[in-house]
Amino acid sequence: MSRLVLTDVSRRFGSVTAVDRFSLSLPAGEFVSLLGPSGCGKTTTLRMIAGFLAPSDGTIAMDGRVISSPASSLPPEKRNMSMIFQSYAIWPNMTVAENVAFGLEVRRRPKAEIRERVGRILEVVQMGHLASRYPQELSGGQQQRVALARAIVVQPAVLLLDEPLSNLDANLREEMRYEIRRLHDEFHITTVYVTHDQAEAMVASDRIAVMNQGRVEQVDAPRALYARPRTRFVAGFIGRTNLLDGESRGEDVAFDGFAIPRRSFPEPAAIQGRVCFSLRPQSIVLHRQAPPAGSHASVVPGQVVQRAYLGEHWDYAVRPSGSGLALRVTTRPHEVFEVDEKVWLELDPGQMAALLPE
């Protein structure tokens, strides 16, 4: 049975709809990220799951029992969840150990057990030697570890994380992504993770729910989300992409300045009328000479209009002949082309993801 089920959850603030018919189901032990730009409603969704906000419509159920509905909302303290906040919310008036012990004290565990569990979890997050410190004496990363320990030690039914890494510097952020995933692999706590950083979501999650303007655009595993985006928004938000507007005409799909045979697409029958495709910059291959025919890919002549060297790769803008488009192409560092040089673009229809009409 699913641990956490959100069914058509909406939340309005006055005339603004912050979350619009959000549905999601998490099996026990799954790690799901809510990913989206600021103001997309992801934090509002999280705070509804936590019980700090009641939904305007829809229900949230945990283990089959409705805990949030417009009529009544179980207060946060009764949900057996825990949460990690953007500010970490480590209480400055308590030591590290006191912070971590709080949840267990509220649950009236025996003193010896509290001491034992606090000690163990602090070892897990590598903070055992700092147990008697006050938060002001800790670095940002250490505070983050305390927050993790405090949230995990109570063995919550659901763990909620609200942009937990946004206040850390870049290096630490990268380290903590893996740390969060490691803790999940160790404790298997059902987790909802809110972030606007796609790399964070990709590293840590089993599935990612991409949100935009209060709605879920797509829920998928990280790889599927990248390879097969289903909406314009997802295609543009996860990584960089080229959006190609095409139209089905007889045997071909016609684009601005070139055409690709319909049968070379994976699902030719699905392509009807106007369709928009997403094609990743690194899925396009550039050639100096026309590659030999026979492969399933289409080859289109073009001209380099702009380029930038970024160390790890080249970034090119290439205009197909007779087209107004400028396709972004990423190549390895040794594949060097000059601006204005004539090139051949190899486009693989198998990697072109057809997007849902708007």
């Binding site: 009641a54 009544s72 946060p76 969840m81 919310a89 949840g103």
Partner: protein, 559 residues
């Protein structure tokens, strides 16, 4: 959320807020239209209040005094603020301390000091003048319009100083540099760039100084009455001489209330226009302007002003407090502790008043702070709908002159159902109401400094709201609230304008007693009582420095 058990507590607190702020105001308004005998609706009170030339003249006098005092405040405060904020004038610490000292001195004590300094014939300044020139009498007479304006300005210019300095502190040197690179000299830069940027703050302070002056009771009562002219507040007070004519007083107070509300609104608008004030925050470093030899001139000016407001008055108060007879001057055989002992121990009335002063102030501070904190919390956490309205109610006493508030309290709580008049409670509650805005601003600031996530974290881990308040919020608020307590306690110990209408025998406080004793002419005793207030205040301010930092008193009470 509706299921919260704490909801009852919030509703009770809101009820108390309405009782303290709304009821007295409503009753004041009602009384102004009520026939004294029949209770029917009437406009007679307004006719009685403004039908007499004497009363209209008092209104005009108030406006003249207010305007003149505000002008003098500007002349005193702006150059000082500029010198301290933007120039390399020496001895800034001394100037700052003297301004703080001025602020600490109750205005009526300042008035007593000025009577000792510039009373006709016997005043120190006149005696020095005679001694120096051989003239039979000195030229100074504090019992005059000029005297009143000067004394009032002496004790409200700190507002001008603080407002202006805060604004100047925010203007980055780059703004001035921009003018200099375009060829403007130091004087032109100051006049065309620096001061205009501070202008909204200066105008705001001008309004505050004006309102302070027209709402003041102690100083006019000590100076204007012997000089045989009236201002609004003294007229209101006389309407309360037996038998009290509450209805007429209520009607007479209305314009004062309306002017105040309007001007505070205007002041708020001025300060709120951020586009004009250079609130660039961390806009680069600030360099000080080099004044050369002029810096000694500026220092001289600052010392001159603070001599008028602080140094000279303090000297004469100390002398009188420890003198057998103040007129006998500065000599060792004139020194005695008798006055202080008399005030603190020997005389029942003064002893009781001393105890009352501190007990009432403490009780009022606790009530004001508890209420303010609860309201600020309710508003911040949106526990009830329309929370913003509560903010306005809690801040409303800020725009009610103390004397008007007192008349409202009198009108509301001398008759059934709730008779508080004659008890200590009416004073305590009036003080609590009067300083509720200070308590509210500080509680609000203290609460805002606590990230709500700290509380959320306690709740998601299984603690209820009240547990979160007890374990997390309360410990974190402690320090900020100690500072707030001091900020409410200090003005509550010296409050005169509302106490004068609400005290009865047995509930006198030092300020009232000091005022009562003033017509006996026993200045040694008055000075001793004033000195006790000053000493306690200084002690509290020092505690406040340790808790909250050096600027807390001037900044937080004034803004």
């Amino acid at each position: 959320m509706g299921s919260d058990r704490s909801l009852v507590v919030w509703l009770l607190l809101i009820a108390l807020l309405l009782l303290l702020v709304i009821n007295p105001l409503a009753r004041l308004l009602w009384a102004s239209f009520e026939h004294p005998d029949t209770g029917a609706f009437t406009l007679e009170n307004y006719a009685a209040a403004y039908g007499r030339w004497r009363n209209v003249e008092a209104l005009i006098n108030s406006l003249v005094v207010g305007l003149s005092a505000a002008v003098v405040c500007t002349i005193f405060g702006v150059p000082m603020a500029w010198a301290v904020s933007r120039t390399d004038m020496p001895a800034k610490g001394l100037v700052w301390a003297a301004v703080l000292g001025t602020f600490i001195m109750p205005n009526y004590l300042g008035a007593v000091a000025w009577i000792l300094m510039a009373g006709p014939n016997a005043g120190w300044l006149n005696r020095i003048y005679s001694a120096l020139t051989g003239a039979a009498a000195g030229p100074f007479n504090v019992y005059s319009m000029t005297g009143l304006v000067l004394v009032i300005a002496c004790y409200s210019f700190p507002y001008m100083f603080v407002f202006t300095r805060s604004a100047l502190d925010l203007i980055s040197s780059e703004m001035e540099d921009a003018a200099s690179t375009l060829g403007a000299g130091a004087l032109r830069t100051t006049m065309r760039v620096t001061l205009p940027l501070a202008l909204p703050a200066i105008m705001g302070a001008f309004i505050v100084a004006f309102l302070e002056a027209i709402a003041l009771f102690g100083t006019p009562a000590l100076i204007a009455l012997p000089a045989r002219f009236q201002v609004m507040t003294t007229t209101l007070w006389q309407m309360f001489e037996f038998p009290p004519r509450v209805q007429v007083a209520a009607a007479y107070a209305m314009p004062l209330l309306l002017i105040t509300v309007f001007l505070f609104w205007l002041q708020y608008r001025l300060i709120a226009r951020k586009g004009f004030v250079a609130l660039t925050g961390k806009g680069g470093e600030r360099r000080l302007m080099h004044l050369g030899p002029w810096r000694w001139v500026m220092l001289g000016y600052c010392l001159f002003v603070t001599s008028l407001s602080f140094f000279m008055p303090m000297v004469v108060i100390l002398q009188a407090a420890f003198a057998r007879a103040w007129g006998r001057g500065f000599s060792w055989d004139n020194v005695t502790l008798r006055n202080l002992r008399f005030v603190l121990f020997d005389q029942t009335a003064t002893r009781t008043a001393t105890v009352n002063t501190f007990v009432y102030a403490a009780a009022a501070s606790v009530i004001a702070l508890g209420l303010a904190l609860a309201i600020a919390y309710i508003v911040a956490r949106r526990l009830v709908p329309l929370g913003r309205v509560l903010t306005y109610v809690a801040m409303a006493p800020f725009v009610i002159p103390g004397i008007v508030l007192a008349i409202g309290f009198y009108a509301a709580y001398t008759a059934k159902p709730l008779v508080l008049y004659g008890t200590a409670w009416i004073l305590i509650l009036a003080f609590a109401t009067r300083f509720l805005p200070i308590a509210y601003t500080n509680s609000d600031a203290a609460l805002r400094s606590i990230n709500p996530e700290l509380e959320d974290a306690a709740r998601i881990l299984g603690g209820g709201r009240l547990l979160a308040l007890r374990r997390v919020v309360a410990p974190l608020l402690r320090r900020g609230l100690a500072g707030a307590f001091i900020l409410v306690f200090i003005p509550a110990t010296r409050e005169l304008s509302s106490a004068i209408f609400l005290y009865t025998t047995g509930t006198q406080v030092l300020s009232v007693l000091l005022f009562d004793k003033s017509d006996e002419g026993n200045f040694e005793l008055l000075s001793s009582m004033g000195l006790i207030l000053v000493v306690v205040t200084v002690a509290l301010v020092l505690v406040g420095f340790r808790l909250v930092g050096r600027d807390f008193l001037l900044r937080r009470t004034a803004t």
